[in-house]
């Protein structure tokens, strides 16, 4: 294989960057969609109406039981049958990630809310705040501080997890490197490069998560 050729790497950079943009977009939209749906699920899960809480719990348990890859296949192979035309792998993958991440985000948000002791809710209500005000000014600020580092850790997991789109042929960072490596017979260097880039980004983000934990945890 010889030494690492930096001129070669420079020539490959534009394609790799295009792939990285797809990876980042999938991660970003996955976080936005997953957090939104996850927050709704968490509210439903904490609902006093039992059937609603049970349905939300069933959703979470179901999606946490099956591999996300199988979920991607569901979208990738089935939505075209349903719509009668093929869909872009990017959207199939994004839909899969949002539905699965929502289950994980829901559990993080629920744990965050439940980490605030119930006595505080009672104290808030006793001091004349409405339930809404208690939630907004007493519970949620503390819950957010507790869940922030975990949310970041889960987002890192999603960032790593988006590499699965390789399997349904979306041109993300890993796939781009794979295409270049196969084209130029430099698969060893390309995979090593992919591993190093993922490591640096995820390691830096996990250090940040640890810092947030120390700084904001109550």
């Amino acid at each position: 294989m010889g030494g690492f050729d930096f001129a070669y790497l420079a020539a490959a950079l534009p394609l790799l960057w295009e792939g990285m943009q797809v990876t980042l977009l999938l991660t970003l939209f996955g976080i936005i969609g997953g957090l939104t749906l996850g927050a709704v699920l968490a509210v439903l899960r904490l609902s006093r109406t039992r059937p609603v809480a049970l349905a939300a719990a069933a959703y979470v348990t179901f999606f946490r039981s099956i591999p996300i890859l199988l979920g991607l296949f569901w979208f990738y192979f089935l939505v075209p049958i349903w719509l009668g035309r093929p869909i872009d792998g990017f959207y199939a993958a994004l839909a899969g990630f949002v539905l699965f991440e929502a289950a994980y985000f829901c559990e993080i948000i629920r744990a965050g809310i439940q980490s605030v002791r119930h006595g505080q809710v009672l104290a808030g209500l006793a001091s004349g705040l409405t339930y809404r005000q208690t939630m907004r000014s007493v519970v949620l600020p503390q819950a957010l501080r507790n869940m922030l580092p975990v949310l970041l850790t889960q987002s890192i997991n999603l960032f790593k997890g988006t590499s699965l789109v390789y399997i349904v042929g979306v041109r993300d960072f890993l796939t781009a490197a794979d295409v270049i490596g196969a084209r130029d017979n430099r698969i060893v260097e390309m995979y090593a490069l992919v591993a190093i880039v993922y490591f640096l980004i995820c390691f830096a983000a996990s250090l940040l998560a640890r810092r947030l934990q120390r700084r904001y945890a109550i």
């Binding site: 099956i66 591999p67 199988l70 569901w74 790593k160 399997i167 890993l174 060893v188 996990s206």
Partner: protein, 240 residues
């Protein structure tokens, strides 16, 4: 939507046998991976709590490396890159002569990856009880090894059983990634059968049910272990 339903496809030959063999590979690769993860994870987890800074540093480096690279990339590194970096003879053996190379590669990838997660749980478990108990053990004349063997580990392992449950479940789900290197496990078989038959809905429903069944069995089995191993007066400690 036009779709010709045919649930009988699930029990038609050879698809039933294909799926069952897929289930067998999923279970086999997950269990072998789990054994590797438990053994290696315990060693790394203990190493993260010892006094020697160098040992602690190496263990921490292991955890960070395996935690911060996507599992799929790790599988590719083990399968495509490792044989190229080894001496030619060993590389050729890995690529050509090792029987069931996809299986062993997948098991090692899953095992070494899950090991870093097990290690973090065990470290948290040990640190949750270390301090007073370890000092008491040392003061009463036990060696460091004995302190780990008789005081720290028995308690730490019992504390982390609930956390290990979710890691055990994860390894079954993660085993689906082995399809990228050609292991014909459940997800791979379901894709294959759906391409042969054009009945993806039935096939993917079956695969989904199989994973749910595995999750149910794991959860039930681990709940029995959790009940038996629970320490009175101690709540579960979860590592981040």
């Amino acid at each position: 939507m036009r779709y010709n339903w045919n649930w009988a496809i699930l029990v038609t030959e050879p698809y039933l046998v294909w799926m069952l063999s897929g289930l067998m590979w999923t279970i086999a690769v997950s269990l072998v991976g789990w054994v590797i993860a438990l053994v290696l994870g315990s060693i790394v987890g203990i190493a993260r709590t010892v006094k020697q800074p160098l040992v602690r540093w190496i263990a921490a480096a292991y955890v960070e490396i395996f935690r911060n690279v996507p599992l799929l990339v790790q599988i590719f590194l083990w399968y495509f890159v490792l044989p190229e970096l080894l001496p030619p003879a060993a590389g050729t053996w890995l690529k050509r002569d090792l029987p069931n190379a996809e299986f062993w590669t997948a098991a090692v990838s899953l095992g070494t990856y899950t090991a870093c997660r097990v290690a973090e749980q065990l470290r948290a478990g040990i640190q949750a009880i270390a301090g007073g108990q370890a000092s008491a053990g040392l003061a009463s004349g036990l060696t460091t090894v004995q302190v780990y063997r008789y005081i720290l580990l028995p308690v730490a392992f019992r504390i982390i059983v609930p956390a290990l449950t979710s890691e055990f479940l994860n390894i079954f789900k993660n085993s689906s990634l082995a399809l990228t290197i050609g292991l014909l496990e459940v997800t791979s078989r379901s894709r294959q059968i759906s391409e042969y038959t054009y009945q993806p809905i039935e096939i993917f429903t079956e695969a989904t049910m199989l994973y749910c069944l595995i999750a149910l069995l794991v959860a039930t089995g681990m709940r029995i272990i959790e009940k038996r191993s629970a320490l009175p007066g101690m709540i579960a400690v979860e590592a981040r």
